[in-house]
């Protein structure tokens, strides 16, 4: 008897969870705030400034979604998550979406039951060496000592790379990025390897960044993107197309500066008009106001503006667009059409 009651309670709890998950948009609207999971801090991608306001490349995605759904880019409750707590926070419904430079992998998508809605940054594992070492390619690193974070995929990628190129290396295991910076600067290892964006951010903090070089080889694929829970496709679509709207806006030349003008006066380009809601009913199809994309772009800017403002070449981090350039400029950023 007791067991039945217990199981019944569990079922109801499960159903309630399912029902709650099925209408994330309604939850967000009722709450008036988007709960967005971010990292506890990653240079350029997400960190609070001196006034406690979150800023960064991933944060912009949260703000864009909030602007698209609620019309207000500040209506975001940022929930800081660590690498260990991020997935449970999303699965338990504590957050509506996760924008925390998370690599899109098969097992995360299927086994953990999440929905990656796209890629906002194509990263990959790279190498940093002091210039005085005189190395210009990772294949010349035979016998080098390598600082490597333990327990990460980077460790496995490194072993694969050196094995397939038939060269040897000596690993120096380290725990955190901060420790790695110290060890590398102290000369405990010849090479430091982690994600290329992380390397660039690390190098930017050195006293003399120009004395260190990033090698051209990228030895793994790390597509980073925002994700939502399985089971609420409408909400997944909203996040996916908000990201696509930012990418499309860059391709079409819509910026935070000219978007208000374009939406008010209309343009000759029908796709811009559809994107900004002055033509067609795209907003209605996705369950939002007609000007959802306009709000998002007005709030944070298009993809290129977000990139330049947070991690681009004008910032101390100084990442080049590389793979993250528009497809028209030789990169991989390619949004499906707004039609």
């Amino acid at each position: 008897m007791k067991k039945t009651v217990f199981l019944g309670a569990l079922t109801i709890a499960g159903l309630a969870a399912g029902a709650a998950a099925a209408a994330t948009l309604d939850d967000v609207k009722a709450r008036g705030k988007l709960n967005c999971g971010v990292t506890t801090g990653l240079v350029g991608f997400a960190a609070p400034n001196a006034n406690g306001e979150w800023e960064g490349f991933d944060v912009a995605v949260c703000r864009a979604v909030a602007a698209a759904t609620l019309g207000d880019p500040t209506a975001v409750e940022f929930v800081p998550t660590t690498g260990k707590t991020r997935f449970t926070a999303l699965a338990s419904g504590e957050i509506d979406m996760l924008a925390r430079n998370t690599t899109w992998t098969f097992s995360r998508d299927n086994d953990l039951k999440f929905e990656f809605v796209g890629v906002n940054y194509y990263d990959g594992q790279g190498f940093m060496v002091p210039k005085e070492l005189g190395v210009s390619s990772a294949k010349e690193l035979d016998g080098a000592t390598v600082c490597i974070q333990t327990g990460t995929t980077t460790e496995l990628n490194l072993a694969d790379f050196f094995r397939s190129n038939n060269i040897s290396y000596e690993p120096v295991p380290i725990e955190t990025n901060a420790e790695a910076q110290q060890q590398y600067l102290a000369g405990a290892c010849d090479v430091y390897t982690t994600d290329a964006s992380g390397l660039a951010a690390t190098r930017a903090t050195f006293e003399d960044p120009s004395a260190h070089a990033l090698l051209p080889e990228i030895i793994s694929k790390e597509p980073l993107g925002p994700l939502v829970r399985h089971g609420d496709n409408e909400w997944g679509d909203i996040v996916r197309w908000t990201l696509n709207a930012m990418i499309t806006a860059e391709e079409l030349g819509v910026t935070s500066a000219n978007v208000a003008d374009m939406a008010a006066n209309g343009t000759d380009n029908p796709e811009i008009n559809r994107l900004l809601g002055t033509e067609g009913t795209l907003g209605e199809m996705i369950g939002l106001e007609a000007d959802w994309a306009k709000n998002a772009i007005m709030a944070v800017g298009n993809y290129g503006e977000v990139f330049e403002g947070n991690i681009g070449e004008s910032t101390p981090i100084g990442l080049a667009r590389g793979l993250n350039a528009q497809w028209t400029e030789g990169g991989l950023m390619y949004s499906p059409p707004f039609r």
Binding site: A16, A17, T39, T40, V79, P80, A204, E207, P316
Partner: protein
């Protein structure tokens, strides 16, 4: 005539000779130096070596400390100013409020936790020093409610209702305690619960009475969070620990086994595991949408953890008492509660002071573990937002040194107090 001294003896002193100064080598600084620093060849060598080491350390440390930059906006600007020597202390001035209060506490309300912090000293003073007027204990009793109201905000009715529950419980307890201790305790709990339940309606209906701006728990951070967790958990875990220790010594099997299982289980699990349970696992068991305050969850877990340790420390104190003390209490005709209050616990607690302080200091430092479950306490603030801002990525020594300094000040003060208390309570049994 010749019998008088002045005639028969050439000279007689009738005052004492003033003491001659000791030889140069046996007085003052020279003596101290000789005895303590240069007593023998080996000691002299060590002294010289120590001074060289000290000079070497200071010649690096002092320019770093005094040549530092305090007014720059980011690490690049700072490096231009200091030119290779000196520390970037501007990170402390730039992020001062964040280090103390976290990122999200409203800045116009900083006076509230500050006031609560100042009042904390007034509140704990009569507990720590028993020569202060006993009336101050009234303020101590009110302090938790005032502090809650100040830090979390909201209507003052919530802490008032909580206080009313305790007052009702106390009166029921003191009315019934003549008849039976257990009955009084049960009655007090029921009375308090009824008061809270009824008061809940009142405080919900009048949510604007004397309301301060409400600050949700997830906006707490910085050293304030460490202080909240440390103070609350230490003061809660002490009484719980005493009860557990007594329960473990009890002759009633059920109570004894509950206490044994609890203590052994909690002591056998790392604190970080309990924190993960509080943060992550509980979210799966609670129905979606319930918002069981995260700080409350963490406080419960840390308190459970600390009380198990304190229980064992106090059990050691109880075990150290001679059997005769228990028998003496019995022979006076005291019942269990009286015997414990008047004879056993005062002695047992005195023996346990060093152990309790040890647990308290350890617990206070353990509050930094909450940074791992993504709460922005002092360490979480440094590891997360500050070190990963584009402005300050790369400033390690200044930030960690500051954190270490804050913790050292608090822990050293606790340790000094406990040594003072031990000296004061010493009754010469050793």
């Amino acid at each position: 005539m010749s019998d008088t001294h002045s005639e028969s003896i050439a000279f007689v002193r009738d005052t004492e000779i003033p003491p001659a100064p000791p030889p140069m080598a046996e007085a003052g600084a020279v003596k101290w130096l000789r005895e303590n620093l240069f007593a023998g060849v080996f000691n002299s060598i060590l002294t010289v070596l120590a001074f060289i080491a000290l000079f070497y350390l200071m010649s690096g440390f002092l320019p770093w400390l005094f040549g530092g930059a305090w007014n720059t906006a980011n690490i690049r600007e700072c490096r231009e100013v200091i030119q290779g020597s000196g520390g970037c202390f501007s990170v402390l001035t730039d992020r001062w409020n964040q280090l103390l209060f976290g990122i999200a506490y409203p800045s116009e309300a900083y006076w509230r936790p500050t006031l609560a912090f100042v009042m904390l000293f007034v509140a704990i003073a009569p507990v720590l020093f028993n020569n202060l007027p006993r009336q101050m204990l009234i303020f101590t009793g009110l302090y938790p409610f005032i502090a809650f109201w100040l830090i979390w905000g909201g209507t003052i009715l919530i802490p008032l209702v909580a206080l009313a529950g305790f007052v009702v419980g106390y009166f029921i307890f003191s009315a019934l305690t003549k008849q039976s201790f257990a009955m009084a305790l049960g009655g007090a709990v029921v009375g308090a619960l009824v008061t809270w339940w009824l008061g809940g309606f009142v405080s919900q209906a009048m949510a604007d009475v004397l309301a301060l701006e409400q600050v949700p728990s997830r906006n707490m951070g910085g050293f304030m969070l460490n202080m909240i967790l440390g103070v609350v958990c230490v003061s809660l875990s002490l009484p719980i620990g005493i009860v557990l220790a007594l329960g473990r010594q009890s002759s009633m099997p059920i109570i004894k086994w509950i206490c044994v299982v609890f203590i052994e289980f909690v002591r056998g699990v790392p604190l970080i595991t309990l924190l993960f349970v509080a943060n992550v696992v509980l979210a799966y068991f609670l129905p979606p949408g319930t918002n069981f305050d995260l700080i409350l969850r963490v406080i419960i877990m840390i308190t459970l953890f600390a009380s198990a340790y304190i229980a064992e420390v106090i059990r050691g104190g109880l075990a150290a008492l001679p059997r005769g003390q228990y028998e003496a209490a019995d022979s006076l005709g005291l019942d269990y509660a009286q015997a414990m209050q008047l004879i056993i616990l005062p002695q047992a607690l005195k023996i346990s002071i060093p152990g309790i302080v040890n647990v308290a200091v350890g617990l206070f430092k353990d509050t930094t573990l909450v940074s791992i479950i993504s709460m922005f306490d002092l360490v979480g603030m440094i590891r997360g937002p500050i070190l990963s801002s584009t402005d300050w990525n790369g400033v390690y020594w200044e930030l960690w040194g500051f954190a270490a300094l804050l913790f050292f000040v608090v822990c050293y003060a606790i340790s000094q107090y406990s040594q003072w208390l031990e000296r004061k309570l010493q009754t010469g049994h050793r």
